[in-house]
Amino acid sequence: MICSQTLQLLHFMRFWKYSTPQNFYPAAKKIAAVFFVLAICFGIPGLYVGFFVAPTDHQQGEAYRIIFIHVPAAWMSMFIYVVMAFWAAVGLILNTRLSSMLAQALAPTGALMTFLALWTGAFWGRPTWGTWWVWDARLTSELVLLFLYVGFMALRASIEDPRRADKASAILAIVGVVNVPIIYFSVKWWNTLHQGASVSLTKAPSMASDMLLGMLLMALSFWMYSIAVSMLRVRKIIRDRERNSGWLNN
């Protein structure tokens, strides 16, 4: 009953109209504009809290301030992968072009977030752990995530026909999704150098509230940014893939 009500609501919102590249194209530009503004609206207070409100850490001094980039990037790296795999699966199952285009658009941003999580993690680890890298479960599985993103993009690039590329890369994306819960639970399932969860859905955060606030604001900023950038990229993809369909003013 809730499902049919949702479908009715989506119908009245003319939601399904946007499932074609031609109709989604102008909407994506508006969405991008709004979400860039939101990214800034969260990012500026986030950085302010991170550098001018959150206090020095007793154990790590100022080095911990990397957290305001590292955790948002890591969260986005995982979240974008799941969203990418979702749209790839929708495209594979329903044979919808735009769904696959959206998966294609998300991959580079997801890869970038993964790279930033690894880079900032290394720069945080060097002064605090004494090492840039360790092959523990969290770091290794995040590195695997980067390989999955790059593999997704490389597989696409290696197949000439875009629709075949959509289908093949969708399989890779879907199979790779198992890595995301592995990354998430790695600190619980294995002995890791990487610390355990300070923030979870089931218990109170074990972090100073100003630090938590900064982290959450930056996480929201990264999320808004990821959406904005993905909307611009899907427009680029639509321009490329639909260039012969007549509605684009070439």
């Binding site: 001094g61 100022e62 990397i66 900032t120 720069f123 945080w124 940014y225 611009l232």
Partner: protein, 40 residues
């Protein structure tokens, strides 16, 4: 959080290389990504 001086802020309690090495690379990455998607 009172840093006292700009020099202290840049120094980040001795961790400046690591903190700014993280933030500047992130800024650079975001700049490259957004500029690469500018529309004609």
């Amino acid at each position: 959080m009172d840093w006292g001086s700009l020099q202290n802020f840049i120094d980040m309690g001795g961790y400046g290389l690591y903190v700014w090495g993280s933030y500047l690379v992130t800024l650079l990455a975001i700049a490259i990504e957004t500029f690469s998607l500018r529309e004609p």
